[in-house]
Amino acid sequence: MSFMPVMLWSDALVFLLLAAGTASALYVRQREHLMLPWQRVAQSATAMVSLLVLSLFLLIGLLDTLHYRIALPEKNGGETVYSPEVLSVFDKLVTPLRTQTEKTYSAPLAVTLYAKESISDAHGNIAREYPRLRYGGAHLTDMQLQDSDVCWRWVTGMLAGMLVGLLITLGSKRWLAQRGWPLRPLLIATLIISALIGMTINLAVVYHVLGTDKVGQDVLYLSLKSIRTGLIIGTVTTLVTLPLALLLGIAAGYLRGWVDDVIQYIYTVLSSIPSVLLIAAAVLMMQVTIDTHPQWFDNSASRADLRLVFLCLILGVTSWTGLCRLLRGETLKLREMEYIQAAQSFGVSSLRILTRHIMPNVMHIVLISLVMDFSGLVLAEAVLSYVGVGVDPSMISFGTMINAARMEMGREPMVWWALASAFGFMLVLVLAANLFADAVRDAFDPRLNRTEAVA
């Protein structure tokens, strides 16, 4: 075999989440009353457009989650030796972006480096000028042609993208219309997105669309790779929060007594420590553990990955208390509902009441809080990485990008593109998530659906 699939811890957790998500989607599909709020979500134009954007991000993140190591050409006693470098399917797809690194900074779409260097020409004369890039615009014989070439590629890329977009929209039009989904906004969004993608691809094959960073890596590549980190922080964390908050919250609310006292005590203690400090303390200790046990990791990728998983774990442990308190309060209200008393009067066991009566009736709160938390976690990653208690410095993420780029703030003229693209990508992701979360909340929150019961 020329490659060996690698399953990192975070990959496994992502697949677990994916399986759980698919299973619950299938479960919901069969139940009309559970579908009802989702149909309301599907009616909302902003929600569906956000979902479209989110699914693109998700696609990139998933492709970036399928990891493998390639076989090296040399063999060690008949056994295939695999490269220590862990790659993903996404890396493979954008190989040129990954491998075509320049010497150092270059501006977006530039053909030369950002700073003058001393170059000796054929005659041994030393001149200070902007050296040409190794890859960016290398096909141009004359630098003067750059502007027209960029424009041409821009226009053709956009048109090609729109053409593809048009084909997609025409193909899916009937399918969308049948479901009563918002047709026009979705089609327009598809057109715009495919135009953007077409444009980017057409330019990216010969230019660094968003420039390069200090070590000459393509910023577009870094931004795209950061998506996976952000998504994992935003989703895997819920694997910790969800069971803790759900089980403890409804148990405390329903069983009352000493169970309630203990659970309340635990979450008051946890939430009384300011969360950034608690995270910082926990990450520092994790750092010590990782550093003193280098033998646990066979390569740097798995070390960085484990740190990411631990970060999710720590974020989860520090952030379940809010949801837990919410669920406890709701359960306290529910346990006084007459249908719970009816079940009690049949002698139905507490466990069954918790799973059959209470859990289904608090799930909307869980769902709303999960989608609302997602964007907060993505933003938190950047801050934590900046503070130094986030992901491993070798892991590509929005936080590490910002942190690295910030060092160049003082430079004249300023290197702005790495910061701008990190913030830009993060804004699109978080904005889409926020808009989608809003639509989900509007559709699921019974208090907001009162207009139907007016008069």
Binding site: M337, Y339, G347, T451, A455
Partner: protein, 664 residues
């Protein structure tokens, strides 16, 4: 007499165009009371809110005019309208507990009106606040003025609302279900206050209510609303003696009373159609037994049948209205024929025997939350229910009747006493038997069914928990039978509760209780959340089930009319204790305890000529701190020295009739 308010062609609709109030016209004369009568969801509250332009977001005025003292309300600017609100026209609402601002004192809230509409401030305003509270019968008004709403009882809060409305010296008072949230004795107090105020100040009253009794007691004129329209308009006398519209007739016929014992109530099938769902034809067609093809094709026109009486029904259109009406009268008469069934009920062997049951809740206080006292919610109650009979437990809210019901099912653990079921002691015994023997039907059909479970799952739950019908085919068959029994179609078992109306939900709740074949059903106010027409359906069903299955009922209620219709025996509860018990005939026809007498006389009667009113002062004392001696003594007009000294022993009037009172 001049009209104070003249409404014509009023239309109010949702943003999507569904009409909540559809082309309503009426007028109110100076100093008179106009009652708008209708079931929930018929648009009567929205009519009132439209008039004061207080519609909630998403609902808007879409046509029609309303002249208050000749001023066109819908032509006013918002700023001018504000001088009308609280000034010329004031309004009071259904839930006094929610309608007052919880963080402002009573005085502050009244003073706002005085400042705005009377220009009063400072001392004068404070003086006036006290006067107003005094006027609405709040004792110790000078102190109350500085209190917060939470410190007042429900009846007091409604009095404060009325005082606040009176502060602007309105010409018209709009009262939206002012007594629905109150107990029957408090309701009597508030209605009387409204009447007295009206006769004192000469203001007009637009009274919105669902209660025929309140209409009979209060109204000069009445309009009956159905699905957004006024279907009949008449003076009180006309409405009570000869209701014309089939819907009005049915409403009267659906009222339970002793006169109808032994015969099913004339329930109106189905329920009120959703807003805006019917645009063509008469909106009552689907539920009307006199409907013919024309009714669903053509919207009936307003027809004036007699002086002051009009109706929106094809029956009275065009043809000789008088002749038609005669026919109707004969029909109406039918409903008043009472077939007296035997109220003298022979008690059989007791199925349930409760003796000296107590449920106390500790009151905790202080730093260490130690127990400083007990709320004696149920304080030594004994009762027995024979097989196949109904015991009604009557009392006002807070008297402990629901706690008693839940204690029997052990949903609340009893503190002391014994509960014997078919001779076996249940307190402290294996609970499993008890679950199958007794079941409960709850008050609120919207809260008593899990919205996330199918009807079949709801019905199956009890069987599964108690291992009844172990195989699933047998269970499904049982579910089908249950649905038949409660009058629902069999395919409804695959549906979810939100697809059913209130009455249908209550049927499901009854079926759930019946699923484990109990011998005793504890019905906790099963109809108080339902409209009169639907209430009749449920009462009929309960009666039918009792005959078919030889069930016993413990019927917990505050509604004495229902008691008359359904109960064999009655226990009257006051502050955790039973003060009077006996057969329905004995308790309702010759009540001996002054509290029972007051309770009975407080019920508004549709015949208009009620018994001599016994006014009950004050409110129910707190069960945490009951008055010494007879609990009722502080409110009793017959109270004597000994009443305050000791709790009266049982006085026996007959084998079945016993009363805890020193009077005899």
């Amino acid at each position: 007499m001049a009209d104070i308010l003249r409404v014509s062609g009023l239309i109010t609709q949702l943003r999507n165009g569904a009409r909540i109030v559809d082309n309503i016209s009426f007028s109110i004369q100076n100093g008179e009371t106009y009652a708008l009568l209708g079931e929930s969801g018929c648009g009567k509250s929205m009519t009132a809110l439209s008039l004061l332009r207080l519609l909630p977001d998403g609902v808007m005025h879409a046509g029609g005019t309303a002249q208050l003292e000749g001023v066109e309300l819908f032509g006013l600017r918002e700023r001018e309208m504000r001088t009308v609100r609280g000034g010329t026209a004031a309004m009071i609402f259904q839930e006094p507990g929610l309608s007052l601002n919880p963080v402002m004192t009573v005085g502050e809230q009244i003073a706002e009106v005085l400042e705005l509409h009377q220009g009063m401030q400072g001392k004068a305003s404070q003086q006036r606040c006290v006067e107003l509270l005094d006027q609405v019968g709040i004792p110790d008004a000078a102190r109350r003025v500085t209190e917060y709403p939470m410190q007042l009882s429900g009846g007091m809060k409604q009095r404060v609302m009325i005082a606040m409305a009176l502060a602007g010296q309105p010409k018209l008072l709009v009262a939206d279900e002012p007594t629905t949230a109150l107990d029957v004795t408090t309701q009597a107090q508030v209605l009387r206050l409204l009447r007295d105020t009206q006769s004192g100040s000469g203001m007009s009253l637009l009274l919105i209510t669902h209660d025929l009794g309140v209409v009979a007691e209060m109204a000069h004129q009445a309009g009956v609303m159905y699905a957004g329209q006024i279907v009949e308009q008449a003076s009180r006398a006309q409405l009570l003696s000869q209701p014309l519209h089939p819907y009005t007739q049915k409403l009267f016929a659906a009222l339970p009373s002793a006169a109808r014992i032994g015969q099913p109530l004339a329930a109106i099938p189905g329920s009120v159609p959703p807003l805006g769902s019917i645009t063509q034809g008469c909106r009552f067609t689907a539920r009307c037994d006199k409907a013919w093809s024309l009714c669903s094709e053509q919207t009936p026109q307003w027809t004036v049948v007699a002086e002051g009486q009009g109706v929106r029904c094809h029956l009275y259109e065009g043809q000789d209205a008088r002749g038609k009406r005669q026919g109707m009268e004969a029909k109406v008469q039918e409903y008043h024929v009472a077939s007296k069934s035997d109220l003298n009920f022979e008690p059989g062997s007791p199925l349930l025997q409760v003796s000296d049951l107590r449920v106390h809740f500790p009151i905790r206080k202080g730093i260490l939350q130690h127990v400083v006292g007990q709320v004696k919610a149920v304080d030594g109650v004994s009762l027995q229910i024979p097989q196949g009979s109904t015991l009604a437990l009557v009392g006002e809210s807070g008297c402990g009747k629901t706690t008693l019901g839940k204690a029997l099912l052990r949903l609340i653990p009893p503190t002391a006493g014994s509960v014997q079921f078919t001779g076996r002691e249940l307190v402290g015994a294996n609970i499993r038997e008890q679950h199958a023997a007794m079941q409960m039907v709850f008050q609120d059909p919207y809260a008593s069914l899990n919205p996330k479970m199918r009807v079949a799952e709801i019905l199956e739950e009890g069987m599964a928990a108690l291992n009844i019908e172990s195989n699933s085919a047998a269970r499904q068959a049982h579910i089908d039978i249950l649905l038949d029994q409660v009058g629902l179609t069999r395919n409804s078992k695959w549906r979810y509760p939100h697809e059913f109306s209130g009455g249908q939900r209550q049927r499901i709740a009854i079926a759930r209780a019946l699923a484990v074949s109990p011998q005793l059903l504890i019905c906790d106010e099963p109809t108080s959340a339902l409209d009169v027409s639907v209430q009749a359906q449920i009462l009929n069903l309960l009666k039918k089930l009792q005959q078919e299955l030889n069930l016993s009922y413990l019927f917990i209620t505050h509604n004495l009319a229902v008691v008359e219709y359904l109960a064999h025996e009655v226990c009257v509860m006051y502050l955790g204790r039973i003060v009077e018990r006996g057969t329905a005939e004995e308790v309702l026809r010759s009540p001996k305890h002054p509290y029972t007498q007051a309770l009975l006389s407080a019920v508004p009667r549709i015949d208009g000529q009620g018994v001599e009113r016994i006014r009950l002062e004050g409110d129910l004392p707190s069960p945490a701190n009951p008055p010494p001696g007879c609990h009722f003594a502080p409110r009793c007009s017959h109270a004597m020295e000994q009443c305050r000294a000791a709790y009266p022993p049982a006085m026996t009037y007959s084998v079945t009739h016993r009363v805890h009172c020193f009077l005899n």
